[in-house]
């Protein structure tokens, strides 16, 4: 009797949550679907016929991007500065996060908040001064300039996430290692870093993500040699003869790396988004 009762109560609830979930996923996926199928249409079909499925399926849009250096070099440039940024951010954030998670020192709380304030700084505020700063040291239009500029928000974020993950590692482990005669560097690289590998993975994911999606700073700091794909796309938008098919294809190609990266970190995404604090 009670089992029957329970299932009678539960059934509508399960259905309701499934409905909410399906509706939400549809809301997320329909705009993406529209972009994807648009990338397989010819321009005349996009503009003149309203079709839910490409009538004459074409790969021309992708061919244009993958054979034109002014397009595909954008992806290469983006990859270079995103990777540089991820490496730099992790390299400086790891020791700092360790210090914040393990010790108290003069001004630690203030320093931590000051770091976070840089995550809160609108890129629009920094666009012009960055342009002048990197021009004056002859780094304008280089990958390293964009990588360093993105450190503005990625380093504080990396410190924040890593600190959350490191806090979960008991301090007894450090102490035992030191008693066993490990020096700090050896302990840190041999024992500690492998222990927080998931945290490092999640942090790398976030650095990659925020550097990959950013447009304003990367557009301001580059002109030709290091121009990212996102900036190339906006240039196409402002041109008069707009090629929707190619634009859609370029958009689809920017989504793919993200989708691949998500797949690899899927089990840690939730914890990562909570900045290691769950």
């Amino acid at each position: 009797m009670s089992a029957l009762n329970q299932s009678a109560i539960r059934l509508p609830k399960v259905r309701l949550s499934a409905l909410v979930m399906i509706a939400y996923l549809l809301f997320l996926l329909v705009p993406i679907y529209w972009l994807v199928i648009m990338s397989f249409k010819s321009n005349s079909e996009i503009l003149n016929a309203f079709t839910l499925w490409p009538e004459d399926f074409t790969l021309d849009n992708y061919r244009i991007i993958l054979t034109d250096a002014s397009w595909y070099m954008g992806y290469v440039n983006s990859f270079i500065y995103v990777s540089l940024n991820t490496v730099i951010s992790l390299a400086v954030a790891l020791p700092a996060a360790y210090a914040f998670s393990r010790y108290r020192f003069y001004g630690d709380n203030h320093l931590f908040f000051w770091l976070l304030t840089n995550r809160m700084a609108p890129p629009a505020v920094f666009a012009l001064p960055f342009f002048q700063l990197y021009s004056s040291v002859n780094l304008f239009d280089t990958h390293i300039a964009v990588a360093l500029a993105h450190c503005l928000f990625n380093v504080p974020l990396a410190v924040w996430i890593l600190e959350g993950f490191m806090r979960g590692v008991p301090r007894e482990i450090d102490e035992t290692a030191f008693i066993d005669g490990y020096g700090f560097t050896r302990f840190f690289t041999r024992i500690f870093v492998p222990m927080i590998a998931p945290g490092i993975g999640v942090t790398a994911f976030f650095c990659f993500m925020f550097s990959w999606v950013e447009l304003l700073l990367s557009r301001t700091l580059t002109s030709v040699d290091a121009k990212p794909i996102t900036a190339i796309m906006t240039r196409t938008v402002s041109a008069s003869g707009l090629d929707w098919g190619v634009l859609a294809a370029a958009g689809v190609l920017t989504i793919i790396p993200g989708a691949i990266v998500i797949y690899f970190v899927r089990s840690y995404i939730a914890k990562g988004f909570a900045l290691g604090r769950v």
Binding site: A99, R104, F105, R119, A124, W212, I262
Partner: protein, 292 residues
């Protein structure tokens, strides 16, 4: 939880971060402060104008209008995204491949470059080539986000909800996952209603992550630039010109260094102030949790 030992040598570990952030934030910030007190006549002739730019800005309708639009925008998207995110998190499958699939699909919008988000909504919302625009127009509702201010707002808000609700949902989901099953069993024994389970078990346990979610969503919505810039270009008129769009127009478009610098500083201070309040609440709660 033991107290952390005091060790001043920890500063050595923080030094690289300090050097890097000083280079990429303190130096540019000093330039901004410097400009905000000076005027320039082409080239490199600067002269001191004191608080002139600040006075001018505080009296300019342009700034107040942009600030008003910005606050309204942030308030609306927080009011939609936070409850919706919690709802989605509650509706998510708890385990198994379905849960993984949902996670991956939900995270997808978060990894799309901001300008592509704008492009997606552009090709989705346009009444000539967009699925949404076309369907809405066919229903007999006049809809054109490029001409009508209300339509532009609706589209920009829908875009932001589409883009960022998953962040709130993923955070809340992480918070929900950390609740031990024993709590739910206890609630069942007490015959607690669904609402009281949510109100007295789930919501308190999600408090920490929800504050992170609100903080992140507030900061990021307050400095939103690329998505509306691509979608509407700040228009029609100035209807969707938010603070960052206005600032970039001023600094890189018109090259008004002085006013733009003063604008930047005030902008930054507003974000800082509000975020500081959030942050203080957050670490106070962190401490409460470690005590408990």
């Amino acid at each position: 939880m033991m107290q952390k030992p005091v060790n001043q040598r920890a500063w050595l570990l923080v030094l690289p971060v300090l050097a890097l952030v000083a280079f990429s934030s303190v130096i540019p910030m000093m330039t901004v402060v410097n400009y905000s007190f000076q005027d320039s006549f082409g080239g490199n002739d600067f002269f001191w104008v004191g608080l002139e730019w600040y006075r001018e800005l505080l009296q300019s309708e342009r700034l107040w209008d942009a600030l008003g639009r910005q606050l309204l925008f942030s308030a609306i998207i927080l009011l939609i995204e936070i409850p919706l995110g919690i709802l989605v998190a509650l509706a998510m499958p708890k385990r198994g491949w379905l849960a993984s699939l949902c996670l991956v699909l939900m995270a997808l919008p978060l990894l799309i470059p901001y300008n592509v988000v704008g492009t997606i909504w552009q090709v989705f919302g346009r009444s000539d080539i967009g699925l949404l625009g076309r369907l809405v127009t066919d229903l007999g509702i006049s809809y054109n986000y490029a001409q009508n201010a209300v339509d532009a707002w609706v589209t920009v808000i829908a875009m932001d909800v589409w883009h960022w609700t998953s962040l709130v949902a993923l955070l809340s989901y992480a918070g929900l996952r950390s609740i031990p099953d024993a709590y739910y069993q206890a609630a069942k024994i007490d015959q607690a209603s669904r609402w009281s389970v949510f109100r007295y078990i789930e919501l308190p346990k999600m408090r920490g992550v929800l504050i992170i979610a609100i903080l992140l969503r507030f900061m990021d919505s307050f400095m939103i630039y690329t998505e509306p810039f691509v979608l509407t270009g700040g228009g029609p008129g100035n209807a969707t010109t938010f603070l960052s769009i206005d600032l970039v127009k001023m600094a890189l478009g018109q090259f008004d260094l002085g006013p733009a610098a003063a604008f930047s500083l005030m902008y930054f201070l507003v974000i800082l102030l509000i975020s500081y309040v959030f942050y203080t609440v957050m670490i106070t709660m962190d401490k409460d949790e470690t005590k408990a």
